[in-house]
Amino acid sequence: METLRRNRTLLITLAILAFLLFTAIQGLSTRDWVITLLRGISVGAITFLVASGLSLIFGLLDVLNLAHGTLFMIGAYVGWTTYLRPDTLVDLLPPVLLLAAGLLLGPFWAALVGRWRTSRTVSRAWPWAALILAVALATLVFAQWPLARWDPAVAAQSPATYSLQLDQAIKAGQARAAPAPAAQGGLLRLAGAFLGSALLALGLAGFSAARYGGAGKVTGAPRRWALGALLLVTGVGIYTGDAALTRFLFGLDTAWLFLIALLVALVTGAALGALMEITLIRPLYTRPIYQLMLTLGLGVSGIELVQAIWGRTEFNMPKPALFQGSGAGCPATSIVDWLANGCSTIDVLGGRIRTYNELFVILIGVIVLVAVSVLLQRSRLGMIIRAGVQDSEMVEALGINVRQVFTLVFALGAALATLGGIIAAPSMGLSPLMGESLLLAALIALAIGGLTSFPGAAAGSLLVGLVQQFIIKYGQIGIRLPFLEQPFKPTPPLVPASTVLLMVIILLVLPQGLFGRKE
């Protein structure tokens, strides 16, 4: 039975691939076919980055995270900021790091305060006092924080203008001049930021102590100290070296800067995911409908927030110089050729494929696929995740802190989405709504692949990408159908419709999706 089902999956996948091959002979030249195929895989790779996180989270936590598209979009915007305005990143890092350090070290403070035996009223009141003080300090300090910013309302300072400037600089082969650094404040501000966050942590610890009784022993104390101290030192270091670091980043080759943007997007995603799970998702595990509504609301608020900071208008993100060249030796004829000359295109069978869109994106997709598969199949964490998908209560009964694993998986899923966002940004452009269509595509991909299956997410995303791109291609050249005189040209609205149709067909044949399990 098991082997039959497995073969069925394989058969259906093969049938669809055979269909694609068949259509190639029908209407497309081999060259167009290869290019369309690569484009399909590339779109599939982006979809996969969103779908894989969605499926991991849904599989283990039973949470359908409808904010995943927004996370994808945030990844793109945060990455853009790192890439085009590293000065903003440098200015922002110290307060963020100090905040993290304060939150990390907060429990020690709370444990210290917890030693004083106080009356009931006082122990009820002091967390509130700490919280109010923290908010007051934060508004005082952060309102004056010097931060290099842009202004979407002013054309000369809008994100689109900065993108254009960088694009021209890359094409001309010049480095950008670093803007004058924002005015530095004293160390007092740093101390204020740290104190504010420590007070915040103290207040939160006080509340949880009031509810769950007694601030117990702090878990993982030495690691906490080390990490907190590291964050603190890094924050102060970046603050003092602000101007030098900004100059260094502006002088960096765009490929390196892009790599930094990838890392920043990943870390932002992981941090946002962990924060979201701990504060908002966790209290609602017993109420799944509320959870669903919460993620939906978070997604919409995220979009509004991004619009408030970066503006409503769409703008581009210039590709790194490595993917932009068009001078001598371009288009490249091989991979080596491309790396040597940094061409924007490579010749394949007389046609041109873009090195960023069709090669780099696919490469990242494959790397993530392999890395997450290895994590799931070979590591202890992966073993716990696979076991937890089936029965998380039993995993907990074995002595494993499942709650922590939940947070980790949510962070991982969110990080994959933000990675997808920054990877997609140079080819898709940035708009506050860019995540929504991808969320839909990813949900369709999951339904096709089987909701909680990781290989299913990959296969589903690939199919969705291929179908989309082939329909677009046929929209240009038309399909010859036997009963029509004129070639049939699918109109643009048929592109999303075709993937839904594919989903319907597959679910009719296999209600669990390609790799789904019967419950």
Partner: protein, 235 residues
């Protein structure tokens, strides 16, 4: 009782709004086997889950090895040295036999250390070591579920219905294994099959409609026809 490894004191447990346990007390002396008896739905499984903190009690408390586990989370309670074998052979079907055992390690090398003991009790598992869990028969799955609880050094094992749905010959094997492993750690057993329960356990606690109503030595119970009739139906 100073030498009790586990004291469950008048616990009240709710599942949602349902008041399932309405005062259950169980005392488990160190070493040997204690069995929880009672009809279906009396609250035996809920008692085990309450001990582990999977269903935290709203009243009363659980004391493991002289230490109250109140307010602790399940993983933390289990890590004190309690192994759990749930009913219905709840192994991880998508994991291999090896992974099912490996995941129970609390310290690196637990499995290597205990492998001989485990394969001594259940020789079948050695042969099936690389197979996925869903390829195992019911009896093999039950053996794996028990073996999994033996990987770390547990001082107390909570075993829920080990004989349920098994062939008589497998039940014999399972009873033999439980007797052997009770030499290493204390066992708190839930068992519907009175013949199995009476042959394994030294003492018993009867739970009736969420309350512990009677406890004593198994040797006294087997001759007490009236009690058996009243609480356990025909036996």
């Amino acid at each position: 009782m100073p030498d009790a490894i586990l004291e469950v004191q008048e616990v009240h447990t709710f599942i949602g709004q349902f008041h399932i346990l309405q005062g259950v007390s169980v005392s488990v002396p160190r070493g040997g086997i204690v069995v929880l008896l009672g009809r279906n739905g009396a609250g035996k499984t809920t008692t085990l889950k309450t001990i582990l903190g999977l269903l935290p009690p709203r009243q009363g408390q659980v004391i493991f090895d002289g230490q109250s586990v109140q307010g602790r989370r399940s993983f933390d309670i289990a890590a004190l040295g309690i192994g759990f074998v749930p009913e219905h052979r709840a192994i991880f079907r998508s994991l291999s036999v090896a992974e099912n055992l490996k995941i129970a390690e609390r310290a690196r090398g637990d499995l290597d250390r205990k492998a001989d003991f485990i394969f001594g009790l259940f020789p079948d598992l050695k042969r099936l070591y690389r197979l996925p869990g869903n390829h195992l028969s019911g009896g093999q799955q039950q053996m794996l579920a028990v073996a999994r609880a033996l990987v770390p050094d547990n001082r107390l094992l909570l075993i829920d219905e080990p004989s349920e749905g098994l062939a008589p010959i497998i039940i014999e094997q399972m009873m033999h294994a439980i007797r052997q492993l009770s030499a290493e750690s204390t066992v708190l057993l839930v068992e519907q099959n009175f013949v199995v329960a009476s042959q394994l356990a030294e003492s018993y606690v009867i739970i009736e409609e969420g309350r512990s109503v009677q406890a004593g030595l198994m040797a006294d119970l087997v001759v007490d026809r009236e009690t058996i009739q009243r609480y356990l139906g025909a036996a």
